[in-house]
């Protein structure tokens, strides 16, 4: 004991003291210590520190504070130290440039919304596409229901599931009846909707892309049902140790709905759709994830239109398999294969007694390697092949088209300065039917000074093949259409408010142009405008409000246009206001949609207006009830004019929906068990 006391007494202690600042203000709770020991302390409320160390030889001091570079100094003095810490530059892997992209799902960037939000959004009735139409940059095209982005046609927006292309992402319907997205929101954990300026990974999309990521391997079994006046659904998941198998079956029929609420149209056979989906997901190892998806839709509908007894039947099957592997040393390998097949048969398509048959098939192969080289550089490179086949038979005419689209891309993200990031990419494409190569550069420069503010400038070139029919009519010499995007994006966000302003300009080249029965690539066009989005959570507790406004001025010469004009799907002003308020187990939503008139050779339509309301009742942890009424005041919106000058309107002015979601087996509350 005596020896121990002597030893302790003999140990000399040095006191280290000083202050830690960021150059302007003291830093509170910075961790200051001697390297190689645990001797140290946290700075106090004035940034001061003082501690003792028993280390006697060379002393190296370190100070750490989150968000700042570590500070290291060999000590030549032990008191009165002044440590000035420098703010840490964001690592390239941490920065998320949000320009021109709206992200949904479990992310801290920008707007977050999960599947339930999609279901409860305004007048979406569970349709992802309808929910996305609450965002700025999208156009209200009521008779179509598809996504029209920033003055572009609906087919200029392409959908990807787990990185793989979907040839036909919509359900089919007769003319002037809105289509819906064919995927359930409950399939996905993340949805990224890019309205332009996207990187080299995505091609064959002139205006926008909609990549969606399916959920991960399920950890427990569940199954459930849902029902409404329109559709009935059953589905579930079986979880295994490192994998899960999910299935879903859905039957949609408007027979009951039409009987209860008759509409303007004369249906010879009500709209009916039978769908089946299955997913298998497996964590093959800690570093490899396998995901497969297969879905099939059979749609049937008959409508009497004047002297035509139109009958439409469509089979749509989509399947994909992807494998993502972490190769170590920062390398990630992605490989995938997808197949889309769509068969469409229409009787009385244009004249009584005619028959239209169309078969389209696409195989998409893709491989990509991603690597984070350092906190300053991140790169990815990939190659893909679209193998397309289609046949069309209509009366005496028939065609068959087969071609490949080979593409490769290289993307690099570089931190130029602590708050300045450059994302640059190049995409090379070759269409086998005309042999032409296209090299498309793209770049985004972003200034991200802090987590609240982002300013980005984007430039890029994008391409897309025309519809199969136009390629055939050109004698297979139709160049790909191209679009140049220039976008500025300014975003300011706090925990309660988000504001985004994005002016843009697009210039189209080589749009398909019909003349004398042939098709050339002589079309062109421009589209410019500004999108504004404001979201707020602070007005009243549990109230979320959004404002989306888009101004668009577009003009193009394409298809059968005889001179450049504003496309008939484009309206100059689009405004959407939404409010969502939660009171206990009830969530109420209100939405107001306005769009200015659309331009046709016959004239300009009146403005579009609709006020929608919805209510969600969390009746029980395993039961959710949802109801919505669209266009409460029953305004008859005119979407366009037929060639005879008559109005194109929806089949009904108001639309009422009520549905119930029941989990029959699930240990989680308010988690939809079927998808």
């Amino acid at each position: 004991m005596l020896m121990l006391l002597v030893a302790i007494g003999a140990t000399s202690q040095t006191t280290i003291s000083g202050i830690v600042t960021d150059g302007r203000e003291p830093l509170v709770s910075a961790n200051v210590y001697i390297i190689g020991t645990i001797d140290g302390c946290l700075t106090d409320s004035l940034g001061h520190f003082s501690f003792q160390t028993t280390k006697t030889d060379e002393l190296t001091l370190r100070a750490t504070f989150i968000g700042y570079e570590d500070y290291t100094q060999s000590l030549t003095q032990t008191s009165g130290l002044t440590i000035r810490m420098r703010e840490k530059a964001t690592a390239i892997d941490e920065v998320v440039v949000t320009a021109s992209t709206y992200s949904f799902g479990k992310s801290d960037n920008f707007k977050t919304m999960d599947a339930l939000d999609v279901v409860m959004a305004g007048n979406s009735c569970g349709d992802i596409v309808a929910a996305l139409q609450t965002l700025p940059g999208t156009q209200m095209v009521g008779e179509s229901g598809k996504l029209y982005v920033r003055g572009g046609e609906s087919d200029e927006c392409q959908t990807f599931v787990n990185g793989m292309h979907v040839l036909v992402p919509y359900t089919t319907n007769t003319a002037n009846n809105a289509s819906r997205g064919r995927f359930s929101p409950f399939l996905f954990k993340g949805i990224n909707f890019s309205l332009g300026g996207y990187g080299g990974e995505y091609g064959q999309a002139l205006s926008s892309v909609l990549p969606m990521e399916t959920t991960d391997v399920a950890t427990d079994d569940k199954w459930g049902v849902s029902a409404s006046l329109l559709d009935w659904n059953i589905g579930g998941t079986k979880a295994y140790d490192r994998s899960s198998l999910s299935f879903n079956a859905n039957y949609t029929s408007l027979a009951l709905f039409n009987a209860l609420f008759p509409d303007r149209y004369d249906w010879t056979r009500p709209y009916r759709k039978l769908s089946g989906e299955a997913q298998y997901k497996a964590d093959l190892s800690a570093a490899s994830v396998l995901k497969t998806y297969v879905g099939y839709d059979l749609t049937s509908v008959g409508q009497q239109i004047d002297n035509l007894s139109l009958s439409l039947v469509e089979h749509n099957i989509y399947a994909n398999t992807t494998l993502k592997t972490n190769l170590g040393r920062g390398y990630t390998l992605f490989t995938g294969i997808a197949n889309s097949s769509v068969v469409e048969n229409i009787h009385d398509a244009q004249v009584p007694g005619d028959h239209y048959h169309n078969f389209r098939n696409e195989v998409h192969l893709k491989a990509e390697v991603r690597k984070v080289f350092s906190p300053v550089v991140k790169m990815s490179a990939g190659a893909e092949d679209y193998i397309r086949h289609s046949t069309l038979t209509y009366e005496d005419s028939h065609y068959r088209l087969d071609y490949h689209l080979l593409a490769a891309h290289l993307d690099a993200q570089v931190r130029l300065l602590p708050h300045l990031f450059l994302n640059t990419s190049a995409r090379l494409e070759n269409a086998s039917y005309d042999g032409q190569w296209l090299l498309m550069p793209r770049a985004t420069l972003s200034y991200v000074p802090n987590k609240h503010f982002q300013l980005s400038a984007m430039l890029g070139q994008y391409s897309q093949t025309a519809e199969d029919e136009y390629i055939v009519r050109s004698g297979k010499h139709l160049s790909q259409s191209t679009a140049n995007h220039a976008i500025l994006s300014l975003q300011y966000s706090t925990s309660k408010t988000l504001l985004r302003i994005e002016p843009y300009y697009k210039k189209y080249h080589h749009l398909p142009l019909l003349a004398d029965g042939t098709c050339t690539a002589d079309g062109y066009g421009t589209s410019r405008g500004i999108d504004v989005f404001l979201e707020n959570h602070s007005l009243i507790r549990n109230l979320t409000t959004t404002l989306s406004y888009s101004f668009n001025d577009s003009e193009r010469l394409y298809l059968d246009y005889t001179s450049p004009r504003t496309p008939d799907y484009a309206s100059r002003h689009n405004l959407r206001l939404t409010a969502k308020y939660a009171i206990g187990k009830v969530i109420i939503g209100l939405a107001e949609s306005y769009a200015s008139g659309r331009h046709y050779p016959q004239g300009t339509t009146p403005y579009y207006n609709s006020i929608d309301a919805n209510i969600t009742y969390l009746a029980h942890p395993k039961v959710i009830v949802y109801a919505s009424l669209n266009n409460i005041f029953g305004r008859t919106n005119v979407f366009g004019y037929k060639t005879d000058g008559s109005n194109i309107t929806g089949s009904r002015d108001r639309f009422f929906y009520i549905g119930i979601f029941v989990s029959l087996k699930n240990n989680k509350a308010y988690d939809i068990s079927n998808f």
């Binding site: 509170v28 709770s29 645990i38 140290g40 946290l42 479990k106 206990g584 989680k668 509350a669």
Partner: protein
């Protein structure tokens, strides 16, 4: 979910279940340092926890290839944040914990069950911080991570207890609505 009782229970569980982790330490010098640091937690004042986290950070710097200091540092940070969800240090500690959990996931010696437990705990703390906004967003993640942790190691006591507490907290929150 934000009740004082809930938060205290979670802290008590985490502190109690931390002991076996330190006992199983492989490196004696590190073990001694960790033990010395954790012994100060007998007084569970916020400053004491913050000082303990700071000490664990220093130990982690000394033994960068060891999982244990990272695990304890993340766990202590989450403990602090769950009991002091609106303290000025809470957000920084959560950011640091998230990065540490990501690092652990890449380490060969890390127990994936522990990693899932910590990740579930992280989401749980975010719900405690802002139940109205984060409840719906992270609820499934909390449950999935605890379930995965228990699937990988059914005897993971921390995951069992946190899952139980989370369920009780959820039931209590729903019954008040």
């Amino acid at each position: 979910m934000t009740s004082r009782i809930f938060k205290s229970c979670v802290l008590a569980i985490a502190l109690f279940l931390m002991a076996p982790v330190s006992i199983n330490a492989q490196q004696m010098p590190m073990q001694a340092l960790v033990g010395q640091s954790l012994s100060k937690l007998q007084q569970d004042k916020p400053e004491t926890i913050l000082n303990c986290i700071a000490e664990l950070k220093r130990i982690e710097t000394m033994f960068p290839d060891s999982v244990q200091p990272k695990y304890l540092m993340a766990l202590q940070s989450l403990n602090y944040a769950v009991t002091n969800p609106h303290a000025p240090q809470a957000d920084n500690l959560l950011s640091d914990a998230a990065k540490t959990i990501d690092q652990m996931e890449q380490m060969a010696g890390a127990d994936l069950s522990d990693v899932c437990t910590l990740r579930g705990f992280l989401y749980m703390v975010r719900i405690v911080q802002d139940p109205a906004q984060n409840g719906q967003r992270y609820y499934i993640d909390v449950m999935n991570n605890y379930e995965k942790a228990l699937k990988l190691n059914p005897d993971n006591a921390l995951a069992q207890q946190l899952q139980q507490k989370f369920r009780e907290g959820m039931q209590s929150a729903m019954s008040k609505q």
